[in-house]
Symmetry: C2
Subunit: 240 residues, 2 copies
């Protein structure tokens, strides 16, 4: 059976302006691969309501899961929760369960649960909360969309709690072969092998170090025996 598919939606001006280098995409890609969910597409959009709503609707219709990061804090530019609600035509307001979490947290820390912070309890009707063990304010899942924070430590903790609840498939196995020859030398061999092992993904990633051309050939697939067979053949044919 084919693995479940997924897309990610990264929300935030700071990525598109070049201020921040995204790390959540790299983290999620690795975790999904281990869990047997195939990440098929990533989109990055601004803190802009139509852009977020359109992307969520497009991705949610095409993939089994959509994971979002960013835009669920207390400030004016945190518009993700309301956009997700709009995308699914769901009612959204401060919800009692999320509010209770925040009340307990701010009571314990001695800070005021003011209007801004209460925004973080805005959860669409029908959504299931995603636990935030770092800073309490929850994410949520509605339909097939999992809405999480952009701060990497919080995003990673939310993913760690969420993923075991999602049905995965066969984890993707991966082996690589390093060749100290240019891509152009080995492309013929690789192409023939890729055609024969069409159930596997065979990628070629060139590098250029100290004037020497080389390539890492990465063979990926969910059947470990097939990956082994392809790598063995590759090593023989390229004599490495």
């Amino acid at each position: 059976m084919a693995n479940p598919t997924a897309a990610m939606l990264v929300i935030g001006d700071e990525i598109l302006s070049g201020r921040t280098r995204d790390s959540n995409m790299y983290f999620l890609a690795g975790e999904l691969t281990k869990h047997g969910i195939d990440l098929k597409e990533v989109r990055v959009v601004n803190d802009d309501a139509p852009a977020i709503i359109n992307a969520v609707q497009a991705l949610s219709a095409r993939f089994d899961h959509v994971f979002t990061s960013g835009g669920i804090g207390p400030t004016h530019d945190d518009i993700t929760a309301d956009c997700i609600a709009a995308a699914f035509d769901a009612h959204i307001d401060v919800r009692a369960d999320a509010r209770a979490l925040l009340e307990a947290h701010y009571k314990a820390t001695g800070l005021e649960l003011n209007t801004a912070r209460l925004r973080m309890a805005r959860i669409p009707d029908g959504a299931v909360l995603i636990d935030n063990p770092v800073s309490t304010a929850p994410g949520f899942t509605i339909e097939n969309v999992h809405v999480m924070a952009g701060v990497p430590a919080v995003f990673e903790a939310m993913v760690a709690g969420l993923l075991p609840t999602l049905i995965g498939g066969a984890p993707l196995m991966s082996q690589s072969v390093r060749v100290m020859r240019g891509e152009g030398e080995i492309a013929g061999t690789l192409g023939a092998l890729a055609a024969e092992f069409s159930d596997l993904s065979i990628g070629c990633y060139p590098f250029h170090t100290d004037g020497v051309y080389g390539a890492n050939i990465v063979v990926r697939g969910s059947d470990g025996a097939r990956v082994n067979a392809a790598v063995t053949r590759l090593s023989q044919e390229l004599d490495v």
Copy 2:
């Protein structure tokens, strides 16, 4: 006048599988910001023809420029050039100008210009070549799409050559204020300021270090005087 808009399309299984952490997006975002071109969306897709073609058509129709990275090497998984041609219904084959560049390069290095390497001279009719000072094989521009390599050193060199040929707008000015208070404390002030300075983008990026909550507030806009005015007001109101 509003700045030109842009999207980026990153092509490659290695990003979506979590094997490689993308750096081209971060690089391009910074360069475009300096050049006054507004990066509005990024998409990452697999080495998959329908995914590439659909994304190129969608982004090319919506933005002034589309920048792609990846998939223009000599191996079987390098399908970007053919997909771009298909997206614009353009004829593609080995083109004399690109072939001449490769012939000179491989003659100088003593390597054979074999069938695989000749694939890198496949350029759609009507496209303009993009110079590759690192490893010769060119990128190209067709319509409003700029097709470049995925290897970061090559991508960055291509961008450096290409950008000065594109009309930019006002570079985005950016100033930031660091506040050692949680987002929830300052959200009200920020929201009021964002409403008043609606021509600027005011983002709030929280952090949590050694048990202390803080936030970097970033004010961006193309009018430096307005950015200064907003930052001055912000510093007064937050007393930093």
